[in-house]
Amino acid sequence: MNELAEPAPPPSLWEIFLEFLLIGAISFGGGIVAYQKILLTEKRRWLNDDEFMACLAISQTMPGLNAVNIAVLTGDRLRGVLGAILAALGLLIPGVTFVLVMGILYLQNTDHHLANLLLAGVAAAATGLLSAITYRLGHRQFNHFKSLLIVLASFYLMSIMSLSLPMVLLIMVPISLLLFRPKA
């Protein structure tokens, strides 16, 4: 909060779009939020650390991808509705273009034995990656009885009982809110 420097003038819509487009194009392998933090608080100083952390907290609480939510929130903070739309579009356009091109090539090419083998290998490796990410995000939860119970119950209802996701949330959210309610 104690920024000595003059607050920078708000960036143009074009600048916002371009900076998020750049992140969307170069952030391979996840960790997009880290790229966003560097852009917003270091490279361009559009937000200070506190403002960024506040956006991150809301992004994590709300449904949707954290990186997209951060783009929406910071775009809005900088330039209102249009800023939010352009930041989110910039972030998503490179990836969407990539998957569409790859998807079309893949669906049109009938003889793709090698591509299938590659994707099968990628899927196997991605399972390991996803487990690692889940473990990294979740290992603190595994040490607390209350949290671990919620983790296991959610997994059980979803994967073993095969309930639909709305049903799982309808059951688990009230229970979890009750367990984690603020202490009066």
């Binding site: 449904p63 090698l114 290998g121 990628v122 899927a123 990410i133 209350k146 997994f155 996701l165 984690f180």
Partner: protein
């Protein structure tokens, strides 16, 4: 055709609002719904998911491929909007609302309550993907190597995935009977 589009928009719009803690939380549900209601088999789901892993930016942009496959470019556009717009609009308004009321103990409580649920759902995502991806010793070995590599080194995950994916493809191609 129009009914397919409406069905797609409703399906992905709902998934958007249910994605607590991010896209991985809805992977299991997405695979199930696409299989049951749109006749996309789990192994096709897995291929599209793998394409997403190689894409820049958020991996979940891969959802537009399902839209494209079921209803062409219009389908891709609508699925993209349906999956990214509802949660974004909600976050936008909550973000503005938050500036008025500031930080309350309840925001932290909601985040704390949703976190373990989303971890549980991520485990379901791993389970759903793993059930079709891990079909033998080779794929299990690849997954375990990726897990260790990502957890204990600072290599960019995309290299881990591309490297192990190519290695797996090479082994299967030249030594199909090996593992």
């Amino acid at each position: 055709m129009v009914s397919v589009l409406i069905h797609l928009v409703l399906t992905f719009g709902l998934l958007s609002l249910l994605a607590v803690g991010g896209g991985t939380a809805v992977l299991a549900e997405m695979q199930e719904v696409l299989h049951q209601q749109f006749q996309i088999p789990p192994d096709r789901f897995l291929e599209v998911y793998s394409v997403g892993q190689l894409a820049p930016g958020p991996n979940m942009t891969m959802v537009v491929i399902f839209g494209f496959q079921l209803a062409g470019m219009v389908g891709a556009l609508l699925v993209g909007l349906a999956f990214f717009l509802p949660s974004s609009v909600l976050c936008f308004w909550i973000g503005r609302f938050w500036n008025y009321i500031g930080e309350t103990p309840w925001r932290r409580a909601v985040q704390n309550a949703l976190e373990p649920i989303s971890i549980g759902l991520m485990c379901s995502g791993v389970y759903a993907v793993g059930k079709s991806a891990l079909d033998g010793p080779l794929t299990i070995a690849l997954a375990m190597t990726a897990f260790t590599g990502v957890l204990f080194t600072r290599v960019n995950p995309v290299y881990v995935i591309l490297g192990l994916g190519s290695l797996g493809a090479a082994i299967k191609y030249w030594q199909p009977g090996l593992l």
